[in-house]
């Protein structure tokens, strides 16, 4: 891919080549260079995935986030924020990312898939987490990414429906770090 770009750069100036979008996709800012999630998943944040209503989802539909590497700064800031300075270690002696923090970050990675993708614009209320599991422990230097899959769509009344998700966060080796089942109340498309 790099070589392809280089060849084109010979014909034009390097700047022109870089400004040219690779496909009909809008140009991403330089800071949004494609990462693992953008390559693997449909969601790069630039595609028209935005959801308005309950009806815009289908059971089995899935979204994948980009990755995030836990740094020492992350863990220091988390300890500063919470006031919990227990430094637990992974079995190989690294500072362990607290399960609650890995979970919180893993879940928020889903928001980065795009505005109103994982949660629609008509989002009303979040019920909570029905079931959360913590699996493989991770430490500084490990990278997580998350996927979320629609597992059920429940019509609640004429105006509202419940979207049921299964979320999973894995590390760079694909081992499950945490998972959850959760639900949100969302608006339905009116008749009109």
């Amino acid at each position: 891919m790099d070589g392809h770009r280089r060849r084109r750069a010979n014909a034009k100036s390097i700047r022109d080549a870089e400004d040219e979008p690779p496909a009909p996709v809008a140009r991403a800012p330089a800071s949004r260079a494609p990462g693992r999630g953008a390559v693997n998943g449909a969601a790069s944040g630039t595609s028209p995935l935005e959801k308005l209503y309950f009806e815009d989802y289908a059971v089995g539909e899935s979204f994948e986030s980009v990755g995030r590497t836990f740094t020492e700064a992350d863990l220091v800031l988390y300890s500063m924020f919470t006031g919990d300075w227990d430094r637990l270690l992974t079995s190989d002696g690294r500072w362990k990312v607290p399960e609650m923090f890995a979970y919180s970050v893993g879940l928020c990675l889903l928001l980065g898939i795009g505005r109103f993708v994982y949660m629609p614009r008509s989002f009303i209320a979040f019920y909570g987490f029905d079931h959360i599991t913590f699996g493989t422990e991770i430490g500084i230097g490990d990278t997580i990414r998350s996927t979320v899959t629609v597992t059920d769509l429940v019509e609640r009344d004429e105006g509202r429906g419940i979207i049921v998700w299964r979320h999973e966060t894995v590390d760079q080796h694909g081992r499950q770090v945490c998972s959850s089942n959760h639900r949100a109340l969302c608006g339905r498309r009116g008749e009109q």
Binding site: Y78, D86, E99, M100, L107, C108, L111, D130, H131
Partner: protein
């Protein structure tokens, strides 16, 4: 520390009905912005005053995950010896976590825990199941859930 009573080191030392109460903490604007940056959740209901004015609450609300994370951190701060005993081996998960009321800037929260079940788990580790409640200054419940914690067993499981 070799006393028998009130020292909780391993799974066997706990009993259903054990309670942990924490100190309290006022949630500030700084907390909300810091948390947004830490985890990357910049939802306007948390950080946009103008957007929040039009919401049902009329003001910014703290992320549910702040109360969720602090329910653990406050216990670790206030009751470290009991909540993180010698045999502590990590969290296994949570069940039925619900956010029952919004937390606003200036609200003061605290957490209560009651041990409601003890599962035998494996040979090495048992599971403590705590019912966790996060309460506001006026005792309004803002979060509830069941926390599952792994604690090593005494003897062969203690590895000593």
């Amino acid at each position: 520390m070799s006393g028998q009573k009130d020292i909780r080191e391993f799974w066997e030392d706990f009993a259903v009905g054990d309670r942990i109460e924490t100190g309290s903490r006022t949630i500030t604007e700084t907390d909300i912005v810091t948390w947004s940056g830490l985890v990357g959740d910049w939802n306007p209901v948390h950080v946009d005053v103008e957007h929040a004015k039009l919401s049902p609450f009329g003001q910014r609300i703290a992320h549910g995950n702040i109360a969720f994370n602090l329910s653990v951190a406050l216990a670790a701060q206030s009751a470290r010896g009991v909540y993180r005993p010698v045999g502590y081996a990590g969290l296994a998960g949570w069940e039925a976590v619900r956010f029952t009321a919004p937390v606003f800037i200036g609200d003061t929260i605290r957490a209560e825990r009651e041990l409601v079940d003890m599962e035998k788990g494996s040979d090495d580790c048992g599971i403590l199941v705590y019912e966790v409640r996060v309460l506001k200054q006026d005792d309004e419940l803002c979060m509830i859930g069941r926390e599952r914690m792994l604690v090593r067993k005494r003897g062969i499981g203690a590895g000593a």
